[in-house]
Symmetry: C2
Subunit: 343 residues, 2 copies
């Protein structure tokens, strides 16, 4: 088992779930430490029946640690994670900073576990909106190469951190009472609204969130020829991102064939009976570790097209779960099978 | 001017706005009558400073009427509007029932006014999600024929009638207070959720709402070769539908060319400066009669592709405004210009 796992960003929206998952899934480690910014340091965390004091993240935090799971803003990851690598720890990072660096592995364990196992430096976990899409793409891509994807997202406020959730709740209350409200996580009111911008504007009028879906997907699937067009939209949902996905494959994949392939793929749950009102909903999928797919149908606008609806808990499979799964993957290869299965 | 305009469904979500618009825009008529189901008959309506009693809709309601503007459920339109035609009235219908009948005109005045002017029977107004999309398509289609459209909608609850708005407000309040709530307009909770089904399931797993966007668009543009793939999703927005639209045209249309064409087209307002957070938002567009377009950019997944974000007030341009514009169009051709411009 690991000597000591450090969770960086332990008090954040994703960090809290990483800690819960480490406990629930019994990730094998002799000890743990919990790191956060100076503001949160000193707080007490209950974990596996013990009280831990949250420590301030410094460059010296990693000397007694062999695995780091970090969920922080990009700047923090950029500044501190090289120190963890230098200290000899394996590092799993949730931030956007390292993902596209050539010597960094970008991993969804169901898709490219080998990239995590052969990594010599940081192992990055993809952006939440990418993870669920690329997992849905993988079984199709195995049947016939995906040539093009058009995706529109319906993203939850929890993707903007704890402040995003607070903003939605308090802004909604204020609007119901006709009160003014000043949003902190969003530049426009999110209550009863739809905001077609997530992140900053980059090349060709696309946002950083949209381009993450392009470049991260190509890196994870190891196929730079896939053409991807994303529109990312924030909607007043607390948790779980939804996506409408249309793919064009080299040869047509029928809805039946797709349904079977989705069903057989680890980490995917098909929920698809529209006539009876059965499809994934954020309200149902929140708290689950899977990627849920429904509305699977032929793209009636293209002979090789397929369309579907994809929902996943952006804090779980979109972030915390994926990171913890990478940790489990490392553990299962580093340590005795019998030991890692102890939980 | 018209002798007498009858508004059918006068107490509904769209009917109320039709009445407000008839007053605001001073649609020329000597008299008006307001019709509704037996349940609402007897209510008093204030219009142009007079009190009107809402009358019960019957087959004899149309004998003294030369223009009918109807916004009712499909069954009501199916049953009663032929009586209006038989009585010699011109009929503008908001329902879905008549739109695709071969002898019915389906009209967006900025696109195909001639269809309204040559109509001998019912003139239908398109489905709300179609109207804003087809208006956005028209200026592009004029530059270079649109071959394919992929659209995802973010539809407001007001499209489900007054009960939709009540459901969202009361369901949201209940959820904020951890109370149970029974939705009447939706089969799943709409508060803080996204429901990927609007209407019933039809061919190939598409919903009625999605197929309306296919067939109505082709009829209005008079081009059955356009391939359209729609996914219609209800989100917790009170009013204004939003859409992500990706089109493929015969030859590429640059974002600049598209922006100019949108700008020059009647009924369209471009709001497009993403770097400064400027794009159409439901919260801003509600109450306006225009179709708003932003996020105009090259579709980076296709050489002839263009993507944009489109928002419009589904009760106004998506319904009431379009119907009243058809009435104005008829008036301007039936009567003296000087008279119709009196307002």
């Amino acid at each position: 088992m690991f000597e000591r796992i450090a969770v960086v960003g332990a008090t954040g929206a994703v960090g809290s779930i990483i800690i819960r998952l480490l406990q629930e899934r019994n990730v094998p480690a002799k000890d743990f430490k919990f790191l956060a910014s100076a503001r949160s340091a000193g707080n007490t965390l209950s974990f596996q029946g013990r009280d831990f004091t949250v420590e301030e993240l410094t460059h010296d935090s990693f000397n007694d640690v062999d695995l780091v799971i970090a969920s922080t803003p990009d700047e923090t990851a950029a500044e501190f994670l090289p120190s963890a690598v230098k200290a000899g720890a394996r590092v799993i990072d949730e931030s956007g900073y390292w993902r596209m660096k050539p010597d960094v592995a970008l991993v969804v364990p169901e898709i490219n576990p080998e990239a995590a196992l052969s990594a010599t430096g940081i192992i990055a976990s993809p952006n939440c909106s990418t993870t669920q899409m690329v997992l849905a793409m993988k079984p199709l891509h195995e049947i016939s190469p995906i040539r093009r994807v058009i995706v529109s997202t319906y993203q939850a406020v929890s993707g903007a951190g704890l402040q995003g959730s607070t903003d939605l709740r308090d802004g909604t209350k204020a609007q119901l009472e006709n009160q003014e409200f000043e949003y902190r996580a969003f530049s426009h009111p999110i209550a009863f609204n739809a905001i077609p911008q997530i992140g900053s504007v980059k090349e060709e009028g696309y946002t950083s969130e949209e381009l993450k879906m392009v470049y991260e997907t190509r890196k994870i699937l190891g196929d730079d020829s896939i053409q991807i067009n994303a529109t990312c939209v924030r909607i007043p949902v607390d948790n779980c991102h939804s996506e409408t996905i249309t793919v064009e494959t080299e040869r047509p994949i029928s809805p039946e064939e797709a349904r079977e392939a989705f069903d057989a793929f680890p980490g995917i749950t098909v929920s698809d009976d529209t006539a009876n009102g059965v499809y994934p909903l954020p309200s149902i999928c929140s708290g689950s570790d899977e990627v849920f797919i429904g509305r699977i149908r032929k793209d009636i606008s293209h002979p090789n097209g397929l369309s579907f609806w994809c929902v996943s808990d952006n804090l779980r499979k979109g972030a915390a779960t994926n990171a913890v799964q990478i940790a489990e993957l490392l553990a299962s290869h580093l340590f005795q099978k019998s030991e890692t299965n102890a939980g």
